[in-house]
Symmetry: C2
DNA sequence: GTTAGCACTCAATAGCATCGAGTGCTAATC
DNA sequence: GATTAGCACTCGATGCTATTGAGTGCTAAC
């Protein structure tokens, strides 16, 4: 569809623009090595590329800027996956070597390292607790009225909340309740917990415990933990150094979007496995219409558990980011394999 | 030190400037009701006030702007503590009525409501876990190699981390360890936990458990939870709507500061009880030299537990914010009293 | 097919006059 | 003696115009 020379020129323009953030003209392309043609020739090709929709011109006497279609072509056909450089690789390895045996920690670290290495904003999505099951339940009385209910899942995730103890309940009863619940509910998927509570535990509890009604309410409450994704951001302020965000209003729109977890989730989750690149408007959000989102999934036993992603301006170092995400996601997958084995 | 008329005028200037964010001139002060003098008179007084250091002039032909000293005087002597208006009060009460029986929740909600009602940035500091004591310790094995260690404090705070189980250790032994630890360590202040572990528990454990050495390391690790404050922000992007932050660089400096928890802690903690107002440079941080920080403490049994605060431009609605913080901090204190009683 | 040459476009920049909000000072007024 | 009207003065903000220069498209020569 494009001639070799057109590809060469498009590539040069995108590369240049990514570096400089300024519309690039025929002269500067001609001067840089690798393209052995005069500005005039390049101008002609640029005009063609614009007609084909790969380039745009901010105004008549300015250089060209890649369009979304241009970036798309660049990402799909032209980009050279930059070798992750030595130093970066070293830092990723260091990250993995760190003592880290908890999911939350891994997610946090991944977000930090990604934003540090790229100077963009990172978005890391933890595994859904959806498919987890109950490992252990514990009620710890604090005083006569309140207790802490603790849920531990098979993945080591811990949820807790304070609950009120029904009046007149004894400590010994609480221990009994804890035992019964563990016996009946261990191994049950979190999503089923509450229905199981009523179907299987209710009667049994009634036999041993007074105040059963109230207790059931309390337990119901305690088990209503959030199931779903856990999302962590890194380097949110990195965006502010990008020239496309020199306008405070744009910054605010973006930061507001980043603070809205549900929107963020919709944006990042439910993307197919592997590396995905969403350019500008492809993300379907006004606030990031001049941003690109690159994501990769990490998995366990072939099933994607979560996502790591980088949000940057459309004028983003695709090659570098893609290869970095690739490396890190694979490393995370490997790490998970080691843990859960 | 100041004449009544000077006070009246200073007050008018600060009020006007807070509303408009523009240097205020003699004419606009004369026009607004409440000051029955001509612009010329006011000009004379303004010149005096400037000489005394209460006002500043951006340039010769501009109006006056309050100096830090001016704000200080305004806050100390002039500001009318705005009645918290009906609607706001209703929202605060609603907040307190919400089902909320966990510290973390209360803190989170307080931050949200403060930033919503003021359109500034809120900073809420949770109680130090420093003085808390251990209520309950639990080791939940996940598989042969790892377990989750859970610590519950007397205030209902839960900490957890994943630890590795020494090779060859039996489940029954883990239960034994848990029992011993609870018997020996319940009620011990968190700061003492680790020394007590060695002084009192070590020997005892040795009697019942093989792999004692490794186990001690693991426990040591598990108990090394963070003691200290827990800080939550609300409305970080609110600042971006303030005209003093139309410059992206300033925004970045500010946001970077807000993300740096230790700095933030140094800023907010160790302030005296009651309502505190720190204006501009008084905060001692370049990044917020044009911001004011107003804080109030909430307490239990007369002892301050934590702090709620509002960070806004020096040109901030002091009256409104002070009275809001006052109301909320007292409500939080009351709520805590109810919980812990 | 490629490129040199040239007229043309247009944002950005600089220079300049104008405007007006605000001041300080002095003299008249209450 | 305090207050105020009047007036000259200051200086950022605004708007206009000319200039500059990076970049284009087109045509004709190579």
């Amino acid at each position: 569809m494009l001639t070799d020379r057109q590809r060469l020129i498009l590539n040069a323009i995108v590369d240049d623009y990514i570096r400089s953030a300024e519309p690039v003209g025929s002269r500067s392309i001609a001067k840089r090595g690798g393209v052995g043609f005069s500005p005039a020739t390049i101008r002609n090709e640029m005009a063609d590329l614009e007609e084909l929709g790969f380039l745009e011109q901010p105004h008549t006497s300015a250089g060209r800027v890649p369009s979304t279609k241009g970036y798309r072509y660049y990402v799909d056909h032209l980009v050279k996956l930059g070798e992750v450089n030595e130093e970066e690789l070293a830092r990723v390895r260091l990250f993995l070597a760190e003592k880290m045996n908890q999911m939350e920690q891994m997610i946090q670290h991944a977000a930090t390292i990604l934003s540090n290495l790229t100077n963009y904003t990172s978005i890391v999505l933890g595994p859904e607790t959806f498919s987890n099951s109950l490992k252990h339940f514990q009620l710890v009385p604090l005083n006569d009225e309140t207790a802490v209910a603790i849920i531990v899942t098979n993945t080591g995730h811990v949820e807790n909340r304070t609950v009120s103890i029904p009046k007149g309940m004894e400590i010994s009863e609480i221990e009994k309740v804890t035992r019964i619940l563990n016996a009946k509910l261990a191994g049950v998927p979190l999503v089923r917990l509450r229905s199981r509570l009523y179907s299987e535990v209710g009667q049994e509890l009634g036999r041993y415990v007074t105040h059963c009604e109230q207790l059931m309410d309390v337990l119901d409450d305690a088990l209503a933990g959030e199931q779903g994704h856990h999302v962590v951001l890194g380097g949110t302020t990195n965006m502010l150094t990008q020239p496309e965000f020199k306008d405070v209003d744009k910054v605010k729109t973006l930061l507001d979007l980043l603070e809205e977890t549900p929107t963020l989730l919709r944006l990042v989750s439910s993307l197919p496995d592997g590396i995905q690149v969403k350019i500008g408007a492809e993300n379907g959000h006004q606030a990031i219409s001049n941003c690109s989102l690159i994501t990769a999934t990490y998995s366990f036993e072939g099933q994607a558990l979560g996502t790591i992603g980088i949000l940057g301006p459309t004028r983003m170092e695709y090659g570098k980011v893609i290869s970095l995400l690739d490396v890190l996601s694979k490393d995370m997958t490997r790490l998970l394999g080691k843990w859960y084995k």
